[in-house]
Symmetry: C2
């Protein structure tokens, strides 16, 4: 059984500086995080944006991995060029090919330590299940959103996003660094168990399936007219029920959540999302029953 | 008795977006904040930086009001040009002259709602004392720091900074907006009382006098090597004592505060200050006895 090469990516968004800092410390001290024998490529996703502490220079790198961008030679955005480069080097057919991608982010939302998976690839669900089982991490299952596509990890055979917050952009925070480090350590520990056949997969996995995103109330010229209601700010992962407040205007008027079915908001007031017209995303909490195919799919990475 | 014109400035730093948003709402609805008859000029300090959500384009506007910059025609930084322009219009000798400046900021530090005054101008101390008396706001008295000079409000006969946090840069937050609005409302209410002669000044005012700033531990190439210790993060205004932790490295080593006298840290882990090599500033808590000269100085603005 071979061991897959893992690409650990930090700074896919250049103003999320905690994971890049951890990566730099890890490169200086390779013992900092025990990879249990896994070979890793430690990569800064968007080094030019990191230098200037901006999310991106031309376009969001974590929306740039769409075939229609990658294949269109007329698109010369820095981030699309960088996406091509990352794939040429670390992609599944790259010169230094990796089979598994771990992309580490931070957020201004109170997401705690959480995981994001895109679609329902069995091997992604297998890793996410293991991490949820060990660390209790909530999982945001992003699927069926035509407006948000081209995520980095989707270009690797298996990949997950670690998303930790709240933390401002451009600010190092010990708790965020420690949570990132712990999650990576447990991730490699569990992958090693998968490799050796001793991994204990849970029977069920709780996911939060993306339903839709909602925007702030805006004026005709596109300006934000109401704020996240104080009762909802910082309440990621907590269900919202019919009639509960969503937005607050300065004249005191309140926009409420008017839907018979409770949903679970995530990425509430993520600073980078207001330009994407997302005030929060709404999810539905669901239980998935573990399938042996997930385990097999993950194990197949090791063959 | 005449009434001074007040300049209310928001967005002196272009990534501190809460006060600019409030200002915009206030311009749309002049009744939003009762100025008790005071005429106000509502001004975005750094509109170009606000457009791109950056602290500044070329240099920090709130360090650009130094005579040696303002008078040097060879300095053509956008912010220095903007400083000259603000003074030409709203300065004490400007075309639309203002006698009092209120400059509204936000911070990633857990400063709560607080006031900053520069030096010990009697009229500044008078307003700060009134606001502390009404709202309990802590006051940071910045003086004697050769490395940080040229603050905006110093160019007006009287001026204070309202500083509110924690909030990430580039993110609207209802509590921050509400606190800003409340502080402005009380400020005008108290100024009106000064104008009518009914203001009740407190006998003493607690200030936190700037002693010095300290930087993060850094490597020889200037990179941050240790983080604000989790026990200190978010603990602005809380005294630090001999032997208590300041910084934490990933190898677990701790840098402690080694000084016999307790001091009070402020602006702990403000994102914009790492480039200024400031991890936090240390202050000494002191009680000032109210002087009638403060009151007279403030009243003189109204003559």
């Amino acid at each position: 059984m071979s061991v897959p090469q893992v690409i650990v990516i930090a700074g896919t968004h250049g103003n999320e500086i905690n994971a890049p800092w951890l990566l730099e410390q890890w490169i200086k001290d390779p013992e900092l995080i025990n990879t249990h024998g896994f070979r890793t490529s430690k990569v800064i996703g968007n080094p030019e944006a990191l230098k200037v502490c901006k999310r991106y220079l031309h376009s969001d790198l974590n929306r740039s991995f769409r075939l229609k961008y990658l294949d269109d030679i007329y698109i010369q955005d820095y981030e699309v060029i960088r996406a091509r480069e990352l794939l040429a080097i670390y992609g599944p057919n790259g010169s230094n090919s990796c089979q598994l991608a771990i992309d580490i982010h931070s957020t201004t939302s109170a997401m705690g330590t959480s995981l994001v998976v895109y679609g329902r690839r069995p091997s992604d669900l297998a890793i996410a299940s293991l991490l949820q089982s060990k660390l209790g991490l909530p999982i945001y299952l992003h699927e069926g959103d035509e407006t948000q596509q081209g995520f980095l990890v989707e270009s690797w055979p298996c990949g997950i996003v670690i998303e930790i917050g709240p933390v401002p952009q451009g600010l190092l925070h010990a708790n965020i660094i420690n949570q990132t480090r712990l999650t990576l350590e447990i991730c490699f520990e569990e992958l090693a168990k998968v490799s050796s056949g001793s991994a204990q997969f849970p029977k069920t996995t709780v996911i939060h399936r993306h339903i839709r995103s909602i925007d702030f109330p805006r004026s005709k010229d596109g300006k934000i007219e109401a704020l996240i209601h104080p009762h909802r700010q910082g309440k990621d992962w907590i269900p919202i029920n019919n009639g509960e407040p969503l937005f607050l205007s300065l004249d005191g008027s309140v926009v409420t959540f008017d839907e018979d079915k409770s949903l679970v908001p995530v990425f509430i007031n993520e600073a980078a999302y207001s330009e994407k017209k997302i005030a929060m995303s709404l999810t539905q909490r669901e239980v998935l029953y573990f399938s042996d195919s997930w385990k097999e799919s993950l194990k197949n990475l090791f063959i």
